[in-house]
Symmetry: C2
Subunit: 217 residues, 2 copies
DNA sequence: TAGATTGTTAATCGATTAACAATC
DNA sequence: TAGATTGTTAATCGATTAACAATC
């Protein structure tokens, strides 16, 4: 396996999309594909596909192209989808529920082992066979269970405090839906992936407002 | 107002974050800020801040910096947050409910005027005073109401068909949560903003898997 | 006025695309 | 073998950063 260090964020962000298209090709029983055919399908340059993949190793064969299933598995491995990641969800509101109920995550190896909320009304209730626990039970839970990823679907005001608690109890990665840049306030070795839905909607609004004069890039 | 055409996606994507920080500064009663102070706060270069803002006009003053509230309002205007956008939600599952219940969208001018689903069990039920309607009622609804944005929180398999229906009935922008690149299958003048949550989670997984050898950029 | 800080041009850096030799 | 297509180097393009004159 070649060195996978120093890969740019842009490349990494494209991998899941390659993975998705390859998965669909498998569903359609396609066995091999050239960078040119994939380029047509995904509307990116063949050059970019080859460059991106060669960051991680030579997965293709001259004169043949890429074996779809092999490449799919390799990208899955690069993305860490060949392992199981344990996950907890903090915040059992609608968004937390939406994520907890999203079955496909389980299929990709993200196993939800706990759901937490501050609301006493939710005490004892369950989501997908997982009992909702109170936040006060979280520290003890973290002492017993290894948690790879904590998903934060809580209001921004409590996000920092909760994130600190998680990090102090050994959580190494946070999937953050609160409107705060947790990466700036947590130790830099903690992995934070921010999902800012309102910012996505604002970009849509920008494009809608400035329609007709299509922006480049 | 200066020309706002030809702004790169990277710049646009940063505007909501400036907007958020400026909003917080207003909450903290900060009246003025220099690109250098904002740079410290947001961990981007002062140069980038000045370059980004100057794509849209000179909002600052030499020797003074930027007036926080003025800049906030200007960026809001650039993002189209000074108008009201009508929005419908297609798919009243957990994610659709999460978005429908997110009060802040309303505050920013995104007004939900309809929620649709295929599930007859949801018929007659309401979310935030908005009655859930059946998909069969959608075409008629679109003839009566101007819809700026359609939010798609439905499975990927029906997404394309529904998107076509929306576009054929005059919807110009789609906020897409289904795992399909609708921008590639719809007419190019239709504005599509994709939110692929599973791809975000995969990036997190990548970083977790390759931790210690931190990636650049 | 002097000091501060912008707006903007120029320099650098990195990412994307093109080209082609290597090779299946 | 001949044709196809990769892996990889080189060229281009665009985005970021640095520098500084303009000016409040």
């Amino acid at each position: 396996m070649l060195d996978e260090k120093g890969i740019s964020k842009a490349v990494i962000a494209r991998l899941p999309r390659y993975y998705r298209y390859l998965g669909e090709l498998i569903e359609h029983k396609v066995e091999r594909i050239s960078s040119n055919e994939l380029s047509d399908l995904m509307k990116v340059t063949a050059s970019q596909i080859r460059q991106d993949l060669n960051n991680f190793g030579g997965f293709g064969q001259q004169g043949y192209g890429y074996n779809v299933r092999y490449l799919y598995n390799e990208i899955g491995r690069i993305l860490g989808l060949d392992r199981t990641h344990t996950m907890i969800i903090i915040g059992a509101g609608h968004l937390g529920q939406a994520l907890a109920n999203y079955v496909k995550f389980e299929k990709r190896g993200f196993k939800i082992i706990g759901i937490f909320d501050v609301d006493p009304k939710l005490k004892g209730k369950s989501m997908r066979d997982i009992k909702i626990q109170m936040m006060s039970e979280l520290p003890q839970f973290l002492k017993i269970h290894r948690v790879d990823i904590a998903t934060l679907t809580i209001p921004k005001d409590s996000a920092r405090e909760v994130a600190d608690l998680l990090v102090n109890n050994g959580v190494k990665a946070i999937w953050n839906f609160a409107h705060i840049d947790l990466n700036l306030v947590l130790p830099k070795e903690v992995i934070v992936e921010n999902v800012h839905l309102s910012e996505s909607l604002m970009c849509l609004s920008y494009n809608l407002t400035h329609a007709e004069g299509m922006q480049k890039n």
